[in-house]
Assembly symmetry: D2
Homo-oligomer: 147 residues x 4
């Protein structure tokens, strides 16, 4: 029997910033994409490959699509938790999933899609060799992260 793939789910806590609110009194919806990015950054770091190093090694993980569902708003004075995981792993890109929660429950869920781009040429490329094992582990395909 092959066990189902269970991706690594990583959470970060984010304090709502006053500047993130708008005149409706809630966090403006565009900021959720920035929060997703913070959680994605933390997930990459946890895999042993901080995204800043990935860029330094000559690759960009370019965003090709985003989607978000908003259920409840977030308020200044609160902190939210944002979970990220690898939702789908391709040979030339991947898809992350996200959930934003507060003590009040689920605030939003979303996903972002990305392709790998070689920094020097600006061209799409295959997943950098050095990242393949680590991202396969994140995706739950095999192995496990260092404790």
């Amino acid at each position: 029997l092959i066990p189902p793939k269970v991706p690594v789910r990583h959470e970060v806590e984010i304090e709502v910033r006053y500047a993130e609110t708008d005149q409706m009194g809630w966090v403006h919806h565009a900021n959720y994409l920035v929060w997703f990015e913070l959680a994605r950054t933390a997930l990459c770091r946890r895999s042993g490959h901080p995204y800043s190093e990935i860029e330094a090694q000559g690759y960009f993980l370019v965003v090709t699509a985003t989607e978000t569902r908003y259920l409840r708003g977030a308020r200044y004075g609160e902190s939210v938790r944002v979970a990220a995981w690898v939702d789908r792993l391709g040979s030339r890109g991947l898809r992350f999933g996200y959930e934003v929660t507060s003590p009040a429950g689920l605030l939003a869920s979303g996903a972002t899609e990305h392709v790998w781009v070689e920094r020097a040429s600006g061209r799409p490329c295959r997943t950098p060799e050095i990242l393949r094992d680590a991202f396969a582990i994140l995706a739950g395909a095999a192995g496990s992260l260092p404790a």
Copy 2:
């Protein structure tokens, strides 16, 4: 014969801001949602009901979902055009469609979904009566906008 519904398509021109770029050298993807909002604001204004007045009359048009596909990046030093239209009109909310273009072609497309909320109670509500005709015209269902 009933002619097909053709929604009013309204375009705005937006100069890329330096602060909107990120270290990849392109506009950060979260800013497209802000651009969509600018085009949506202009479309409402064109309908004769500026969104600032709609809020003043006691209603919020709350974002419940967004989605964006990114094809090419936008650069500082360029201007882009963002078109918005009513994609679907419901009794308690609506969906807008968007396209971002530059002389290089289509950069991105997307959509946002919204529900009407009564400001005083914070509760979802039906489309404010005063807006129904104007939004039906935007959606291409009937009539036309003042020239």
Copy 3:
């Protein structure tokens, strides 16, 4: 002998966000004002009066001036520390000081000035009574914060 006033200095750690960088490869300068605000928020919270509660009690602390000196840039992949303190305390407003540091040393310093405004009337007002002692302690004028 009267000891000199030593204001309470409170620090927060802030992870640089990718969206905060610009195409120069460093954090865009406008974000430092947002970081100052995070440190100010934490300082208020430490005084026992979270700013979100101050607004709920009917007061705004409106920004009337800002100034910042930038010595070195901050990069994605780093965290910075932002210290805030009450630099000057008036009967109707106050001034905060700030320093942003990283392991590389001092990155920036700055200040913001504020006046109290009554939310209902939109008018400037005296420091809300409930905050006077706490802010005097922050400013180092007297007493001390709870441990």
Copy 4:
């Protein structure tokens, strides 16, 4: 008689964005630095040297200081005008002045200071030769811009 130096004053019109407001109901103060940048960009463009070309030629105009005084707030639904001019011209940097106005009068004024940095080395440098005449004209020191 030597006429006094009168710098070229250039204005741009900026529509307030919903995302720029905060829960106080006014534009968040950090956005004024972004508006200053838009006016500065337009002033450079008017000098015949768009800032995007200056960077392409290998130079950065790095921000070393900002200051802003806020007199009245700006609201969503309004447009503001932002004027920029060269306030002081040095051999290795310069200072710009700004004013933000609306039909209600002066909303804010400010200044930003900058040094020239060679992109390749990351080192401060003298004003790029190609820009000296154009910036001297902007500063009102001599000559005039093409009509």
